[in-house]
Assembly symmetry: C2
Homo-oligomer: 178 residues x 2
């Protein structure tokens, strides 16, 4: 990432500040531009596509997820580690509405996003392997399938009240058991 000119850096931050408050699944570039006090062209130059903007918004949540996933992996009890990981993923996906799309997207435009995703999936693979070996999870579920199940739970929570998160996480964890 070449150093940004000061005005460019300012524009970028203004745009991100506004975009954070918008519905991640319905980013309107013209509207964001007006709110941010910049021209539409400026928004499109910084973020050529809606997905590029979603990725930029996801970057900080993703960085938190890296930390949390390391912590989960450090947990000594295999079942607890799995629950910590899945619970954190669900929580963060609920907090950042664009995260699901970024996690599921096969090709990332931003290379730091790609690297963080790689680490998260690698860590999860380790945690899941441990859980499988100690027999606390169905052996036929893949990392990908569990990610999809987490996205499904995110969707379910969004349909109702956020306070159902705990219950739905319990349902998922019980369902994952061998």
């Amino acid at each position: 990432m070449a150093a940004l000119r000061s005005d460019a850096a300012r524009s970028r931050e203004r745009i991100l500040d506004v975009a954070r408050r918008e519905d991640p699944s319905d980013l309107r570039f013209n509207h964001i531009a007006r709110e941010a006090g910049v021209g539409v062209g400026t928004v499109y130059r910084h973020f050529p596509t809606a997905h590029a903007l979603t990725e930029a918004l996801a970057a900080e949540t993703l960085s938190a997820m890296v930390t949390i996933s390391r912590d989960a992996a450090a947990e000594s009890d295999d079942a607890t580690a799995l629950r910590a990981f899945v619970g954190a993923a669900l929580q963060l996906q609920l907090e950042n509405g664009g995260l699901q799309a970024v996690l599921l997207s096969p090709d990332d435009e931003d290379s730091s996003v790609r690297e963080m995703k790689r680490e998260i999936f690698a860590t999860f693979t380790t945690v899941l392997d441990r859980a499988r070996r100690s027999g606390v999870v169905r052996p036929d579920l893949s990392v990908e399938q569990i990610e999809h199940l987490i996205c499904g739970m995110e969707h379910a929570v969004r349909l109702g009240s956020p306070e159902h998160r705990g219950t739905f996480l319990d349902v998922l964890m019980a369902g994952l058991r061998a």
Copy 2:
């Protein structure tokens, strides 16, 4: 529903035939009109909103769901009845991409849709009550929460391959258990 004039009935069927083949979450009226060989105005007259069209498409699936839910309720084993109901709901929602929206919508434009939904939810309430009484399901889950969980599973299956439906249904049913 006042009797339709013959040309109106023909237009309606043509529109529904085309719409059935489209992505239910992205119904483009102009496109449907062109494909169906009718004017855009005709599409809008028959279906004032995308939701009205989605409802019409959901009607036949909903009618199948009424039958299946009665069958499930007739099942003597409480746990089996619950699984039959949830499994059928998941299956039908996967077959008809617009069904989720219609089931979740609080106000239906079509009265027959409203009536079918009423019966389905009433039947499910009975099935769930039985399951609760015989202790085969967590007592703290409401009909609404379970519907949301089914929608979540639908989402999860759609993210991957349809062949994961069975596995994901198993995960959900295991998670629902007390």
